[in-house]
């Protein structure tokens, strides 16, 4: 589904992303882990066409992301790190807008997403102004908005920051279901417990890959009891430092 080779992003003299090579398959939940500034968001922004790589190649469904950007944009849904629905629009109006700019008819799309709306408890608040919703609901609404056009590839940049643990679990339940239905999910997070939900993760530091693989296998390889420990070990940080 996604292929990158020698992906580099340079801002002036600062290399935000340095030689990232990925091969992500269909239906996979792929996690980006790393501290703030490790290059997760920059990589995701390049993968969904928001940033142009300084060098290297990105292919999505075997299409070059620069040459076929128009075609690729239809295939991907994106939920940015910053909450980015319109606060002065009602929840349903936000969804209508995203259906509109992807040129899908709203009613069928809403019908298709009904199970998720139910699961998220959003059905009853569709007429509410988005600014009046609690943070957890806003995040869920963002995810639904990103799914309006039924994209096979979904990018979630820190989707659960600022959300309570219970809501996070529900959120991941839906992500899991989406992957099971065949969607490819790219997610970044700094919650190590969430990494367990991913099929594979890449741990990044200073724009480079420091570890890549299945969470269980990585834990075994590094002899760590949990992801938190693994993360610190991989980055070469002792517990005391954090």
């Amino acid at each position: 589904m996604i292929h990158t080779s020698h992906l580099v992003k340079q801002f002036g003299s600062f290399k935000a992303v340095d030689e990232i090579n990925l091969e992500i398959g269909r239906g996979e939940i792929f996690g980006f882990l790393g501290a703030n500034g490790a290059g997760k968001t920059t990589t995701i922004r390049m993968l969904c066409g928001l940033l142009k790589p300084s060098s290297g190649e990105i292919r999505i469904d075997n299409l070059d992301i620069i040459k076929h950007s128009e075609q690729i944009k239809h295939k991907l849904g994106y939920m940015s790190q910053k909450f980015s629905l319109y606060p002065d629009l009602k929840a349903i109006e936000n969804l209508q807008f995203y259906a509109g700019i992807y040129r899908v008819s709203f009613e069928p799309a809403l019908k298709r997403l009904e199970p998720i709306l139910e699961q998220f408890g959003l059905s009853s608040i569709l007429k509410t102004l988005t600014q009046d919703l609690p943070m957890g609901y806003k995040q869920r609404l963002s995810l639904v908005a990103a799914l309006m056009h039924d994209p096979p590839l979904v990018f979630l940049d820190e989707p659960t920051s600022g959300v309570d643990p219970q809501a996070r679990r529900e959120f991941w339940q839906v992500i899991n279901d989406l992957a099971q239905s065949g969607k490819t999910i790219i997610v970044s997070t700094h919650f190590m417990d969430e990494a367990e939900y991913c099929h594979r993760v890449i741990i990044m530091q200073d724009g480079r890959e420091v570890a890549l693989g299945n969470p269980a296998e990585l834990k075994q390889e590094y002899g760590s009891a949990n992801m938190q420990e693994l993360f610190l070990k991989v980055l070469g940080v002792s517990d005391a430092k954090l």
């Binding site: 940033l51 980015s84 629905l85 319109y86 002065d88 629009l89 509109g100």
Partner: protein, 360 residues
């Protein structure tokens, strides 16, 4: 090929913003009204009720006829008699008199000269007082001292009412300011809030975004123009001699030009603050100074005259003054209209090319 349904999705969303955001409504409705009232009453360039001290040594029918001619206008009022005991210079200094008229003893018989002294600490008013006084003296049929009988015929605004001059100008000024603000803020707000990122990920093209933003504000801009026109006519009794449909057509073009200017600003400005500053900077002073609103273009240095070609208001001023005061028709205005259309298209193309579909 831009998709109509995408443009509509963006335009509809924009309408929700407009209806729910009180700030936009303030820009659209309150700002123009306040400006009209403040500018309208503060920038009054007429003279009215100038305190005139009369020293009539003749006291005959001719001198009385002359004094009556002054008093019977709205422009002058007599300084009350009791103040006459003071020296004229003192009255000028205390601003109790702005002009004095001295009529010599044998006025009307052997003497034809009268002396008009004017306080010129405000040269503009002094100039106007002199013109008015000359006009009054001429109208009485009495020759002035040099014996020159000057008769100017003043067209379109025979009373030289300054409201005739500033109301059309204000329509031009307010529209360009408001419209440039609206589009530039609307786009920079999306950049600031991060919602633009979400739009950029989608297959929407720059042209679709720009059209979707312009269309709702075109309607609003026209509505704004009508409000300013109506209030201007009501408060300041400005005539409207032309055809209303001509007004709508050309105002549409001007609003479009102004909105496109805002779009252009938004391709440069990253924050709402910056957009606001730039939009105001590019419209307020250039329109005031270089459009022919305050200073006639023909009396500007050649370089500045060339510069007025890129000021949208310089075209619209010809148009709006032409329609309101002279009753111009399309044939007399189409060149100015085409210039506005050309500017809009050019700015739209540049904005679409500069509009980045990626983050920087």
């Amino acid at each position: 090929m831009p998709s109509f349904s995408r443009i509509r999705a963006i335009a509809e969303k924009e309408v929700f913003h407009i209806l729910r955001d009180s700030r936009t409504l303030v820009i659209i409705f309150l700002m123009p009204l306040l400006q009209l009232i403040i500018f309208g009453y503060a920038m009054n360039m007429e003279i009215r009720q100038v305190p005139l001290l009369v020293d009539d040594l003749a006291m005959n029918s001719s001198s009385r006829a002359l004094v009556d001619a002054f008093v019977n206008t709205d422009y002058f009022q007599l300084v009350p008699k009791e103040a006459g005991t003071l020296q004229p210079d003192e009255l000028f200094r205390e601003r109790r008199a702005q002009a004095s008229l001295s009529i010599p003893k044998d006025f009307g018989a052997s003497e034809h000269r009268v002396l008009l002294r004017i306080d010129a600490s405000d040269p503009n008013s002094a100039q106007m007082i002199q013109n008015y006084a000359l006009g009054i003296v001429n109208s009485t049929g009495i020759q002035t001292d040099a014996g020159i009988d000057l008769r100017a015929q003043i067209l379109y605004n025979p009373d030289l009412k300054s409201s005739f001059f500033f109301v059309p100008g204000l329509i031009a000024l307010i529209l360009v300011m408001v419209c440039a603000l609206l589009t530039s803020i609307s786009i920079s707000r999306e950049k600031e809030m991060g919602t633009m990122e979400q739009i950029l990920v989608s297959p929407v093209s720059a042209t679709e975004i720009l059209f979707g933003k312009v269309i709702p504000y075109l309607v609003l801009g026209l509505l704004d123009a009508l409000i300013i026109l109506a209030v201007g006519m009501l408060l300041f009794q400005v005539p409207f001699r032309g055809d209303f449909s001509v007004f709508l057509l050309f105002t549409f073009l001007y609003v479009l030009t102004s909105l496109c200017l805002g779009l252009l600003v938004s391709t440069v400005a990253k924050t709402q603050q910056a957009a606001m500053m730039m939009a105001l900077g590019m419209t307020l002073l250039p329109t005031l100074l270089l459009s022919g609103y305050m200073f006639p273009i023909s009396s500007m240095p050649v370089i500045l005259q060339k510069l007025t070609y890129i000021i949208p208001a310089s075209y619209y001023l010809q148009i709006i003054r032409g329609i309101m005061l002279k009753g111009n028709n399309i044939a007399q205005l189409y060149q100015a209209g085409l210039s506005l259309l050309g500017m809009s298209v050019l700015m739209l193309i540049v904005a679409a090319r500069r509009f980045k579909l990626r983050l920087s």
